[in-house]
Symmetry: C2
DNA sequence: AGCCGAATTTAGACGCGTCTAATTCAAAAG
DNA sequence: CTTTTGAATTAGACGCGTCTAAATTCGGCT
């Protein structure tokens, strides 16, 4: 049996490998898991013995096929639980992450199966993150990009929100920014602020760290291919 | 924070205190938790330091008020989870115990609250065991007794089934013996076997260890106060 | 009263996951 | 081709929960 801790390490390695594109440094892993580097080193040794990671001493680690399978299984648990808490138990978008972070290690395969059935094999969790199916690759970024890479006039749909801070998520929810939300970029201020107009409602301003966390996909323009400054109530200053 | 292990010890002490009526011996505790006596001793020391049990060296332990509160909280979690798995996720009667045994230590108070709400504050779990509410006493045996204490002709209703073995529970379920089932004791064979006739259906034979595990309450007789041998289709031999 | 045996506790050890302090390594800078 | 420096590893320790083997204690029996 794998301990919850080991599962946490594998999950972290999986994530960091994606983000950093390649092998994961001990210090990165330690930082992500909030432990000291020696702690990470000793865990890496155990993971290596168990054949879950490949290690290049003084370089870093990579998941083996088996390690990746475990990582994806844990991530699947996490996202299924989030979806379940949100859809079946009325949890708030902001609350699901922490509960799932613990439960992901303690549910049986039976539980996983029954929850997935009940939810009708969902493809994404409440944050818009894909729920891996088997040992297969979950991500398909095709056509996605970060909101921070867009400019005024772009008409977009929120695909995912990578933020996990409950306060911030609650705020975004209240302002109407969740996966599925459609909006147009209205203004980009030079002080690291983007203002967007949500289709059918008002505007919201978002600082850089938020626009970087929001993943979007381009939408067909409502009409023609007008690039900007044509929305009803434009600039007042 | 209390570890899952500590919670297990407290739960076990609570149960043994009930059963044995009084302080719990180290060896009993060790046996129930499947550890060696020295292990139990060292845990008892920690529990004592934390003020969760009172210890009389070489005698045994008793829960303090605080320890009992924790034990009841864990038992509440366990039984709510069992009920939830059974009623909302379609789990089988026999399967719920093991899953609950783990999850009981890992759900948040928020989860407990939402599950209880969803189930409409249930009073008993699928085995017929009462779900403690707060720190209050859960058991109210008034009018209850063990099926093994009854005799031929008694008309009874199953209140609880104390067995936890999945195989046996599946069998009992298939034979129609679950909390709520009404039946009449038809015959008691001298080889440790009791045959009962379930109201509206057929008969089932049950060995001693099963009749001891079934908790029942007496039912008003269908008619008059006839003591036995008067049911429509009585003895054929 | 004293002994015996069973239950309990104490001693000492181990693996897990963690830490701090000390050491070693590798890679960049001179 | 050295030196420097920052990252990584090794050394040694600790608390948890567990074990086996060795005391110890309690209670009952003669």
């Amino acid at each position: 049996m794998l301990s919850a801790k080991m599962e946490d390490y594998l999950k972290a390695i999986y994530t960091l490998e994606r983000e950093g594109g390649g092998s994961v440094a001990t210090s990165r892993l330690a930082e992500k898991l909030e432990v000291t580097p020696p702690t990470a080193t000793s865990m890496i040794e155990k993971l290596t013995e168990r054949g879950l990671v490949d290690r290049e001493k003084y370089k870093g680690v990579t998941l083996t096929r088996e390690g990746e399978t475990v990582a994806l299984e844990v991530i699947r648990h996490h996202r299924l639980i989030e979806t379940f808490l949100s859809e079946e138990l009325g949890y708030d978008w902001a609350e699901v992450h922490e509960e799932a972070e613990i439960l992901e290690h303690h549910i049986s395969e039976e539980f996983e199966r029954r929850v997935a059935d009940r939810l009708d094999q969902p493809a994404v969790d409440p944050h818009g993150d894909p729920i891996p199916n088997d040992a297969l690759e979950p991500i398909d970024d095709a056509g996605e990009s970060s909101l921070s890479d867009h400019g005024e006039g772009d008409h977009l749909e929120v695909v995912r929100v990578r933020d996990r801070d409950p306060e911030e998520l609650t705020y975004l929810d209240r302002e109407g920014i969740t996966p599925g939300t459609r909006f147009t970029v209205e203004e980009i201020a030079p002080i690291g602020l983007m203002t967007v107009r949500i289709d059918g409602t008002g505007t919201v301003s978002l600082p850089d760290h938020i626009t970087e966390a929001i993943q979007v996909r381009p939408l067909e323009e409502p009409r023609a291919e007008s690039t900007a400054l044509e929305t009803d109530e434009s600039t007042q200053s």
